[in-house]
Amino acid sequence: MGTIWLRYTRNVSEANCEPRTKRFLLFLLVLSLITVGCGSYASQAEKNLTKASSDIAGAAYVLEQFGNGEVSGPYNRTSLQEYAKSMQKTERSLQNLNPPPADEEQHERAVDALSRAQNLVQETGQEGVSREEAPELARRLEGFGEELKL
């Protein structure tokens, strides 16, 4: 059955199915337009905070491993720079959200914690850090991560 159908693929392709295709494309367009902007504050904030927590945890892990001598210097610095870039993007996305009045204070706290974490990661990535100091910085970052969860 499959074989017979496949042999006639050419005929199917030649059939005039233009109006159907147009209708399908129109449906997709309408669906996309309806769905754009449908993400609520809560879902968008949660998505951004999860991303920020993940980047902070990643940077803290790299620093910790660097302190243990299990990550090389260039890997440590480039990883931190990449995490800093990603955190900056997330910070901008968070700032662009409009929280409802009840969530405003918590929103501000989260943005502030993320901003401080981002500055720390960026500075460490650019200027470097000694293996002795790395665990302390990792702990500070973990603290910022905890602030995001509150």
Binding site: G2, L6, S13, C38, G39, S53, V62, P74, Y75, S79
Partner: protein, 408 residues
Amino acid sequence: MKRYLSVALGILTAIGGYVDVGAIVTAGEAGSKFGFGLLWAMVLGTICIIFLVEMVGRMGAMGNKAYADILREKFGIKFALLPLASELIANFLLLAAEIGGAAFAFYLMTGVSFQLWTVAVALALWLLLWRGSFSLIENGTSILGLVALCFLIAAFELGTPWSQAAKEVVLPSISGSGSPAEYFNIAASILGAIISPYLLFFYSSGSEEEGWTRKMIRSNRIIAVVGMGFGSIAAISIILVSAMVLKPLGIQAEALQTVGLGLVEAFGIWGVYLFAATLFITCFGAATEIALALSFEVTQIMGWKYGEEKKPKNAAIFNLIFPLYIVGSTLLMGLSGIDPVQLTIYATIFTALILPVVVVPFLAVMNDPMYLRDQTNHWFANAAVLLIIVLAFIISITSVPLTIIAGG
């Protein structure tokens, strides 16, 4: 003896060539966000690619003609332009992502500008394609790609709960730090990354360049099943390692350097070097195949002269297409500032979307006795591949609006 050696080489090549930037990114993200919950997508993709690689080898052995050649001959140039155009876009994005992945490995190890490394990788790529023979390109980088099996060793080292992982292949769970929309998005990306249609064009051109005959059918079957089957183990191991190390720490592997942290946990400082080597070799190997596949596709469909073994003056357009694509992809990756991971995700979802356009005509060819004589497809192979392709298409087409709804 020579035949056994060639089968063994084929298997090693298939295993080593399985992983690329798409597999690394999607598997890392899947494991870190959903644990073992997306292993099924990797298994399904592998089943599909085993079928497709077996078919494309059989086609080459029976007709000694490349797929794109047959596509033009059977359906006409107008029809052939549709899969060609889809492939050109998908492969352009994929090539840029592979160049980005290879460059990122050096960037991680040296800290020297990522943009500079993209140019260096592009030059090395062009040089290898310009000077290297087909077998060197096909076998050399793929054999080195066996380094990706370090993820399998890491999975053992970290004490993976194998029975739980096996259970989740059959009964997957959606629970994790990602949304359901992300779950389907990553599933589509995995299928798009594993079932890469460029492989159809690359393998069929390879079998033509190497002059395969009917005698190769059995060896090809063994290579497809064993090579691709074992190859998927490396990609599956990336999911396992990410699930074991990153998920419990709340780290989502949305950046390439994050995927490497699983190896750091297993091997310490050696994990850093192994990850960089895996990333560079697998991405560079895939980039050589994609760039060549692009040249083959265009020249075969247009009916122009082609051949990696031919001197540039004897196949001028063939030798012009891959450098142009390399330059274009390097500019996209190096100058636009696009994140290689994001680009990989877009490229793999787009690939999943165009799968029916490329694979359905291929199945039609595989059922035509004019090209396959007594070796046409079994109904089961048709049904299995069609089912997976349709599933990949549905998942990818629904994942896009779902992601928008979720605020992605």
